[in-house]
Structures are given as C-alpha cells and as structure tokens.
Amino acid sequence: MTTEKKALVKVDGLYKYFGSNRVLRGISAEIDKGEVVVVIGPSGSGKSTFLRCLNLLEEPTYGEVWLEDKLVTPVDPYLHADVIELSKTYQKLFAQHKSAHPGASDESIKEELIKKIKVEDLLHEKHEGKAYKSLMKKIYDENYININLARQKIGMVFQQFNLFENLTVIDNITLAPMKLLKMSKEDATKKANELLERIGLLDKADAYPVQLSGGQKQRIAIVRALAMDPDVLLFDEPTSALDPEMVGEVLDVMKELAKSGMTMVVVTHEMGFAKEVASRVIFIDEGVIMEENTPEEFFSNPQNPRLRDFLSKVLI
C-alpha cells in the first residue's frame, strides 16, 4: 500500500458525485514538496470540489488521497484481507465452502471469499474480540492518518476568507496552534506577531474581522493557516471576492510564500500569478484534468482545444 516515489500529496482516481451530478470523474495528480500548482478551468468545472476533496471537506465518492505515505481518505480497514479472515462471517463461509467443495484448496477458497465479502457483511460483526480490534488498529495506524491530524498539515484559504468573526485577529491566528499543537500562549502570540509583521498588519492584531478590508482579511486568513506550519496550503480563488484594488496585496503575499518554498495548490483566475510563480498549471474541465504542463508550455503552446478556447476568453 506504499508508493515508491513519495509525493507530498497524491491523488489517485478521485471521483465525486453529488447525487447524479458527476462533478469529478477520475482525477489523479501528484504534488511534490515545494511545488506551486495552479489549477484553472471554467466555473462549475469542479475546481473547488477537487481542492475540498484534498482535505476531505468533501468526502470523495471513490478514490484515494495520500499525504506522504499515509492514506487520508477513509477506505474501510475492515476490507483488509487480514481483518476479513478473522471475522466470524468469513470463518462460517469458509467452513461451508470447505464442506461443499472438499477438494478445493484452502488458498483458493480464501481468495474467492475475500473477493466476495463486502464490508456490509462484516458490519454486524464489528465487535469481535481483542485480536480483531488490535489488528484493525495496527492496520489503521500503519496506513492511515487521522483526518484532523491531516488537516493540521493541509492548510486552506477560502474565497470568503472565513475569519472567525467572534475572535480578534491575534486570537484567530493563535487559536489552532494553542489548542491543537499545545503551543503556549506566549509562543503562539510571538509567532503570530512575526507573521503579522511580515504582512504589515501588526497594528491590526486586536481588531475584529468586521473592522478589516477584504484584502486585509484574506492576508490574515493566509497567516492563520501558516501559523499551523502546514506542509501544503490550498487556496480556493483567494482573490475572487476582493475589490480589484486589493487583489495585488494578497497576490504579493502568495508570491512571497511561493518563493519561500511553500507547497501550494492554487485555484485562481489570475493568469499573471500562474505565469510568474507556478511550477505547474493544471486545466480542469468537466471534472477531469484536460491538460497539465509547465506555465511556459501551458500558455504558449496549449494542446487541448477546450483549453485554447478557455485561454482565448481569459487572456484578452
């Protein structure tokens, strides 16, 4: 269950359906440490959904998301062969098969049963003894990362900023490090102040979100995510809700971040940003990756006709 070359984030065969609406239809991608991946595509093509599947704000219908060598998506550990073998259901079926087909080898029966048994068959048998439970836990710990832990390492910046309205700027930034990383108040405040200094908003430390402009809110939202020292930052159209005169200040922070080596996945319509700092640009349309390339190739030599069409509309 381990990958050979360890990408920081690996997405494998991601599908997401909302009812009968097939929003993502098989997306696979790898994001290496230090990369800045820009995702573009028409509105409604599934960009936000893709991003939100990476930290499981949306639960994928099928597919896997890996953070380094640990699986983020919930694939039921009950489906693991070693666990199935321990279940009463399996043992009962095994005995039945054995008496029905005395000639068959244990191995072949086992192979057939494991393919056949579904997780539903095991559900009502979930509390079977210590050995079963400890094996489950072992399998889980070896292969999975708890979603809340994973999210500590995957920061997210939203289009609508989503600063905590009930908290001051400084509390917005220090809350998670204090409660989740058990940082002391002094350390967390010190770090928050350094980050605020870096974006030139130290004087707003005690302000409430309602007292800030959109650009200021978004820069603070970025800092709030950074305070957790994430391995990767996800941006969902971070400048789309801003007045035009504030777009620059947010993009400047993001560019600085990118140059400092932060791993970033950015959904945006800012083609200038993509050209300047992206290491790779991905074009998503109708829930699939239609094209993927270095920014130079991507913009100067687009292959897919839909991408050419899209670019001709946005690059006037």
Binding site: N55, L57, E59, P74, D76, V119, E120, L123, K126, H127, N148, L149, A150, R151, Q152, I154, G155, M156, F158, Q160, N162, L163, F164, E165, N166, T168, L175, A176, K179, L180, Y208, V210, Q211, A221, R224, A225, M228
Partner: protein
C-alpha cells in the same frame, strides 16, 4: 365617589394589610421567580444536549451511515429519543405534564418545588432546543469549515467557533423563554405550590373578595414581563450594535 374610595381602601386593607397578607404575595412571587429561574437553567441544559445530538446527527449521518457501526447506531438512537421527547412535550398541555410528574413519576417525593422545576425545565427544554438549532444554523457554514480545515474536530469547532457566535443570536431568545416561563409557571398551584397566582387565590379564599388579590397578581406579572421585555430589547440592541 367618596364612598367608593372608602370601600376601596377598606378592601385594600382587608386583602393586603390585615394579617400581613401582602407577604403572601411576596413569598409567592419569590417562589415564581425561583421556579422560573431554575426551570430555565434546566431547560437550557436539556436544550443544549438535544440541539447538539440533533444537529450532529444531521451533519454527520451521511458519513457515519456509510461506515456503519456502533457510533452511528448510538447517535441515531439518541436522535430518535430526542425526536420522541420533542413530539411528546410539544403535543401535550403543560398542566398535564406537571400533574403526571407530580402524581405519577415523582409520586413519592415531598419536594413539590423541585418537581415543578423539573417539569417546567423539561417542557422548556423542547423549545430551547429549537432556539439552539436555529442558532447553530444561522452561523455561516464557512466558519465551521474554516475550523475543520485547521484540524479542529467537530466538537472543538462547535465549542470555540460556532457556539460563541450562536450565543449572540440565541441569548435574547433565551431571555424571552424566561419571560414566557414566568407566566407559564402560574399553574404550579395545581400541585400545591404557593406561587404568585396561588398566593392571590389563597387571599381570595380567605377574604372572599376576588377583585383586589387577582388584579394585584395580574399587575405584578404585567410589571415583571414589561420590565424584562425592555431589558431584553436593550440587550438585543447592544448585541446587534457591537462589532463583535
């Protein structure tokens, strides 16, 4: 005119001064406030639990259902229990609930005040639960998602982010629930409690004049309700105007 006034004074003396009967009203009023206050607290406690169970069920049922197992069964069991509670409480009269509590469930208890607090608290809880549920839903979904995206679990996100914001909306409504309960507890006399209403009625029984004691009781309720309503309005305005 003069006669009428003299009669009124005499009636007043008879009903309130003689035998210090005004202290009955005072004691009754205190009882009303005590029952209302503790019933409100109990109602809030119950309401929080119910609202938490019901909204976490709504929020998590899809993902938990798929995994199945113990957690889901427990949560859906409690969710069903809460639904039953809401239906029963909202579908039966408060007096009947009180009588059942007093004569059946707590038949062996001699502490009727406590029985009344529990009964009104349980009743109030059903309405408070809806207040909280409305409050939770009124907080922008983005606040919740931002909390989860930082790595807070469901309960932490509710505790640090959603509930504090919800309170601003919910606090005035809880005060209104208190005001409603002040009036609703006037049936406590059914189980032998000397609340404000019962005190007025006792005076009436002693003096054989209904006008004075009952109008006095009505005026006291009215005054308290008007004063509390004013205070809530002011609180509401303060919360609305504050930046945070």
């Amino acid at each position: 005119m003069k006669e009428w006034f003299a009669d009124l004074t005499q009636q007043f003396e008879l009903n309130f001064i003689t035998g210090d009967r005004w202290t009955w009203l005072l004691e009754g009023f205190k009882m009303t406030l005590v029952i209302t206050f503790f019933a409100t607290l109990l109602g809030i406690a119950i309401g929080v639990v119910i609202a938490t169970v019901r909204s976490s069920y709504d929020k998590n049922k899809e993902s938990m259902k798929k995994k199945g197992g113990f957690g889901y069964r427990i949560l859906s069991f409690f969710n069903g229990l809460c639904g039953l509670y809401l239906t029963v409480i909202r579908g039966t009269p408060v007096v009947v609930q009180l009588l059942i509590m007093y004569f059946i469930i707590f038949a062996s208890s001699t502490n009727s005040t406590m029985v009344a607090v529990i009964s009104f608290g349980i009743n109030s809880g059903a309405y408070v639960a809806e207040i909280f549920r409305g409050g939770i839903m009124s907080v922008d979904k983005g606040q919740f998602e931002a909390g989860r995206s930082l790595g807070f679990n469901y309960i932490q996100t509710m505790r640090y982010i959603v509930i504090p914001q919800m309170f601003k909306i919910v606090l005035p409504m809880l005060c209104n629930e208190f005001i409603v309960l002040i009036k609703e507890t006037s049936i406590a006399g059914y189980v032998g409690i000397r609340d404000l209403t019962k005190a007025g009625d006792l005076i009436r029984g002693r003096t054989f004049s209904a006008f004075m004691p009952l109008i006095a009781v009505a005026l006291i309720y009215l005054a308290v309700v008007i004063i509390f309503t004013k205070l809530v309005k002011r609180l509401e305005r303060r919360l609305r105007n504050s930046d945070h």
